[in-house]
Symmetry: C2
Subunit: 191 residues, 2 copies
């Protein structure tokens, strides 16, 4: 088997297992078994459990960030923001275990990878921040908006809502959920 194919199988296995039980509770033996691979192969492809995890995080977040960038590209400011939110929602719908892993593990305290994990997550948030900045520059959002905090808020809001949606009412159409999020974003709360 090719190296990259093996790596991807390990990624997929690790994402599932970590989403279920957490990083600390997931053993390297489990990951290897789920991927249909010997334990040594994990250490041949990645130097350590931590390295595997950080590569996995990197891989997943890069895909999320790319999805967001694609959604934003070439759209006018406010529409771009909404497209990004819709894209984040869709991504989570398709990669639910990864989303669980992301929300659960980026806020764990402890290890060295912790800081790195947070920086990786920033890449996704940064796309939202960019969209917000553009909107501010175009004058469609308040000039004194705290872009960093707002981006973090939008990201977290979408992530939480998406996971609640998947867990509690998965049969509900995406568009429904997206509409509620848009209303919140646009300040359509007030009658």
């Amino acid at each position: 088997m090719t190296r990259s194919a093996t790596r991807e199988r390990l990624f997929a296995a690790a994402i599932e297992l970590i989403a279920e039980s957490g990083l600390a509770a997931t053993t390297v033996d489990q990951i290897a078994a789920r991927a249909g691979v010997a334990k040594g192969t994990v250490y041949y492809n990645f130097g350590s459990k931590a390295e595997l995890f950080s590569a996995l995080l990197e891989f997943g977040v890069e895909r999320l960030a790319a999805t967001l960038r694609d959604a934003v590209a070439g759209r006018p400011p406010l529409e771009a923001l909404e497209a990004a939110v819709a894209a984040e929602l869709a991504f989570i719908g398709e990669h639910e275990p990864f989303a669980r892993l992301l929300i659960a593990e980026t806020w764990r305290s402890g290890g060295d990878w912790q800081r790195a994990a947070r920086l990786i997550r920033e890449r996704a948030v940064e796309v939202l921040a960019g969209a917000l900045r553009d909107a501010v520059a175009a004058g469609v959002l308040r000039r004194d908006l705290d872009v960093a905090t707002a981006a973090s808020a939008v990201f977290g809001m979408v992530l939480t809502v998406a996971l609640d949606w998947r867990a509690l009412q998965p049969e509900r159409p995406v568009d429904d959920v997206r509409a509620t999020l848009m209303d919140l974003l646009r300040g359509r709360l007030v009658p």
Copy 2:
């Protein structure tokens, strides 16, 4: 020493240690030492490490929910919502490690423990949902607002923003962060 006094000391010790090193990295021996208690005492008072942590989670969420209920009590609808958000933010500022524990444990996908953790979290979200319902009833929010989704969104938004705040710019005043959150909530994004 009385049984409950010992329990409280163990509790305090466990919280401190989680603040320093995280949940997974904290050993029972450490907890006992920090509490100035023999290891056997931990197992006399709690049957296992898991039981100790589950009691901790229960204890913490109940305090968070109580804090939110206090903040909401006797306030007019919109002000109540704002007070709840401020209270959640302040609570997380003061109990950061607990907030991390909460966010990490409620989003797993398997097992009974996860379901229980989820139900516990609901208690806090429910307070926000109540405030939103009151506001809808009072006519200050849209009649057709999806209260459950909105409550989840607000809770997740505040949690994410609060942890980002603590991690990236802890010296920033709470009021600053709270103001941005309230602007988002009230739709004051647009100039």
